[in-house]
């Protein structure tokens, strides 16, 4: 079958294609899953906003035919918090890299989760800083080689899903770019759920991380994900650390309810008015 129109044409800013990502990079898969989930959600397109920080992942919103804001490095979350406070009707999704969200933006991340502000955060974790040439990230596993850990990383990395759940996220999941359908469903679930949702997507960086750690081609990495991934819904996020030789535990780890920042804020305003 020959089609003259890409099924996502309406959702993409076609004039900005070709995109910047390397062959077999996982970021495009995440972008596709987001659009697919957004379409399925029935959310009014005019009410969907995508926000990102700086990095290869941060370039996603630039290719989407949606209201978008590419903030400075690390600041996507406070910026998105401002949007949600000013207009709670918007469905706000943050798509950014592990360095952006957990190194320079780490403080913002734990506070946004603590507030339980109604945002969906999708973090593309490629274990490195793709955009700046493959430096060590707060997610880089021990012993992994990077431009700034030339003899092997010796710092303990973050386990992102554990950080998110400990900080108060009400929805926490992890998938890899191999799990396309499950990832798309998780995004759909997260974006229609009220409160702070977090999805970690394990994704290949063929140019930096995969090369310096000899992980092979894009296909090899997909095979690696297939062999290493173990689905364990409801598993204790504290026990899902990723090392260079461990399994990759994926699944939905947290799905709970608690009043959101906006709920509490409305409640608070109501009380203040009553007591006037």
């Amino acid at each position: 079958m020959v089609i003259d129109k890409h099924p996502m044409d309406d959702w993409l800013r076609k004039d900005r294609i070709p995109h910047i990502w390397c062959p077999s990079c996982g970021i495009g898969i995440v972008a596709t899953c987001y659009i697919d989930a957004l379409r399925a959600s029935g959310i009014d397109r005019d009410k969907a906003t995508v926000i990102s920080g700086i990095g290869c992942t941060g370039r996603i919103p630039g290719y989407m035919n949606l209201d978008s804001f590419h903030t400075t490095h690390g600041r996507a979350l406070p910026f998105a918090t401002g949007i949600k406070l000013a207009n709670p009707e918007l469905n706000v999704t943050i798509l950014s890299g592990d360095g952006d969200l957990f190194a320079i933006g780490g403080n913002h991340f734990i506070h946004a989760a603590r507030r339980n502000i109604d945002l969906t955060v999708i973090c593309v974790n490629n274990f490195t800083y793709g955009m700046t040439g493959g430096q060590v990230a707060p997610t880089t596993p021990m012993k992994a080689i990077s431009a700034t850990s030339p003899y092997g990383n010796f710092e303990h990395p973050f386990n992102l899903v554990h950080v998110a759940s400990a900080a108060g996220a009400i929805y926490v999941a992890r998938w890899t770019t191999l799990h396309v359908r499950r990832l798309r469903n998780a995004i759909l679930e997260a974006m229609t759920k009220r409160g702070f949702s977090f999805i970690e997507v394990i994704s290949p960086c063929p140019t930096s991380y995969a090369r310096s750690n000899k992980l092979g081609t894009g296909l090899d990495i997909m095979r690696f994900y297939q062999q290493r991934s173990v689905i364990r819904h409801g598993f204790d996020p504290a026990k899902t650390d990723i090392t260079m030789s461990s399994e990759i535990i994926v699944g939905k780890f947290v799905d709970s309810e608690k009043p959101t920042f906006t709920d509490n804020y409305e409640e608070y305003c109501k009380k203040l008015k009553e007591n006037k």
Partner: protein
């Protein structure tokens, strides 16, 4: 057959997508050419992406050093069919394009078609294409195959023998092709002494200068174009005993470096404008606590994320006024790579001596440029790296009031005394105080160090005699390109005053500029140095040559603008 002849110099440009290996060809060619005795210069311009787009590298091969970017292109190797608009502007009818059929710019006539890919495929695959291209250029010039082979051995040293063998074959095939190319004749003299010259980049000059200055601690956060200094030092950490820590952000980085300095390390940070914006709180802490620190800023166009991989001299004012409150600082802006090495070495010693932040302002152009340097030009003063840290005694006062404002500095664990430091206003011991008389005394003490600092100001570099009617004022990375343009006889009435130290300013400056027509040249939109000269000395500047499109000044552009300045 038309024969194109190039005498004394040749400007080669390689263009292609990110990831196609433009930089690899550049580094292979420059290294091998230098080893053969050719003077080389290289610089690159590239997009903020890891794949795709259009990037280019310029290589100038010459018989006397020409260390400045030129617009003109003699030979262009397009590795791809995409051309950025700024590259297109540089292509003239005389530009010879050498490459594969599909990659030539449509309608360009001056082309030599060579199917590099099929040569490479015969050797085993497309990955050899870049080496074949490098080989072609080496064949067109007069180079020794054994030098190339030796280089390839080293370059691919970690790979297996088969890879090395294939690459040597690739370079040989390219060379054979180049030797048989009769349409181009190149006459550039080689020099024996150039073979042993050093070949390093701006990034290398800062990082090597830091090592020479005794730097043993760097904490930073990656940010183009400054990251290379961090990676260089982390890759040399084992060799030189350097602690190289990648922090979680710039706020953390500067505080780690300050902490290390308090503990006795010679420490630095490297960043770019956006990252430095985050460090400013730390600069203020540095000023208040009088903790030595070297801050390297590789400038790129702002505001915000701006143009991440481009160049600008746009951060002088931010650096000058960074940090709330008043405290002294030194700001350097190296003019050449040689100078970058020496200035960085010096910066560590001045930071230690005066207990202040010392800034080094470079930019993408400076950092990504390299050329061969005579080792003798890298002179480090004999004073070496004498540390000013003293052993404390029991009644040690970290902020003892002294005549010149500099209190002897000790570090924790060295001697019997305590080293007490506070970001709040503090007394001589270092304890927090709200005694407002002490506040005034301490503030004066810190600020008064400027008198001592002024004794060590680096005077401006002067080119041309003092009788000339026009004087160019410039700073930092623009030196070589302006000096190159001034070699042109048309400009014999123009002298150059170039600043390497942009703060504090040398007091000879107003004297040099008296009764002259000043032409300000800065790679920014507002003339930040010009404004500083007005503020400090009341100097008015009428003629300004400014640029902020993210690219460096070319020699031709300087010439063109100087002509306009002379006419108007």
């Amino acid at each position: 057959m038309v024969v194109n002849e190039f005498n004394n110099k040749l400007i080669i440009v390689i263009s292609g997508q990110a990831g196609q290996g433009v930089s690899t060809v550049e580094s292979i060619l420059t290294s091998i050419l230098k080893k053969n005795g050719y003077n080389v210069f290289a610089t690159k311009e590239y997009m903020s992406r890891i794949r795709g787009g259009c990037n280019s590298s310029e290589i100038i091969v010459s018989d006397i050093s020409i260390n400045s970017f030129c617009d003109k292109i003699d030979i262009l190797f397009p590795l791809d069919k995409g051309y950025s608009s700024h590259l297109l502007k540089r292509i003239s009818r005389d530009t010879i394009m050498i490459g594969e059929k599909g990659n030539f710019y449509p309608d360009h006539e001056n082309i030599i078609e060579i199917d590099f890919s099929s040569i490479a495929r015969k050797l085993g695959g497309n990955i050899y294409t870049n080496i074949v291209i490098a080989g072609l250029m080496l064949g067109m010039l007069d180079t020794d195959i054994s030098i190339s082979e030796e280089f390839i051995q080293g370059f691919f040293g970690k790979k297996d023998n088969e890879v090395i063998k294939k690459n040597i074959e690739a370079i040989r095939s390219g060379m054979a092709e180049g030797i048989s190319l009769k349409q181009i004749k190149i006459n550039i003299e080689k020099k024996e002494f150039v073979k042993t010259n050093l070949l390093f980049s701006g990034t290398d000059s800062i990082a090597l200068g830091a090592i020479a200055g005794g730097c043993n601690f760097i904490a930073s956060y990656p940010m183009s174009p400054s990251t290379g200094v961090l990676t260089f030092l982390s890759q040399q950490s084992r060799e030189f005993g350097i602690i190289a820590e990648q922090a979680e952000d710039e706020i953390s980085a500067i505080n780690m470096s300050l902490g290390a300095s308090y503990a006795g390390a010679r420490s630095m940070v490297t960043t770019s404008g956006g990252g430095f914006a985050l460090m400013i709180e730390g600069v203020s802490l540095c000023g208040m606590t009088e903790t030595p620190l070297v801050i390297h800023i590789g400038q790129r166009p702002g505001p915000a994320t701006g143009l991440p991989t481009r160049t600008e001299q746009g951060d002088l004012e931010m650096v000058l006024y960074s940090g709330h409150g008043s405290f002294p600082r030194i700001i350097f802006a190296p003019s050449t790579l040689e100078n970058g090495f020496c200035i960085t070495q010096k910066a560590f010693n001045l930071a230690d001596k005066f207990q202040i932040p010392v800034f080094i302002l470079t930019d993408q152009y400076f950092l990504d440029t390299y050329y061969d340097i005579e080792p003798d030009t890298l002179d480090i003063p004999d004073t070496g790296n004498k540390s000013c840290i003293i052993e404390s005694n029991l009644d040690y006062k970290r902020y003892e009031l002294t005549i010149n404002g500099i209190s002897p500095r000790s570090v924790p664990g060295y001697g019997k005394g305590l080293v007490v430091v506070d970001s709040d206003e503090h007394d001589e011991i270092g304890h927090l105080t709200e005694d407002l008389d002490i506040r005034e005394e301490m503030n004066r003490k810190r600020i008064s160090k400027i008198e001592e600092i002024k004794k060590a100001i680096i005077p401006p570099v002067l080119l041309g005699d003092l009788n000339r009617n026009y004087v160019i004022v410039s700073w930092g990375s623009t030196f070589n390109v302006i000096a190159e343009a001034l070699k042109n006889k048309e400009f014999k009435d123009i002298a150059l005053m170039h600043l390497i130290q942009v703060y504090p300013l040398h007091d000879s400056i107003p004297e040099y500029l008296k009764n002259k027509t000043i032409i300000l040249i800065e790679n920014n939109e507002t003339g930040q140095l010009g404004r500083l000269l007005k503020l400090e000395f009341g100097i008015n500047i009428e003629k300004r040559i400014l640029k902020s499109n993210g690219l460096p000044f070319s020699k031709e552009e300087i010439e063109e603008n100087l002509r306009i300045a002379l006419r108007s």
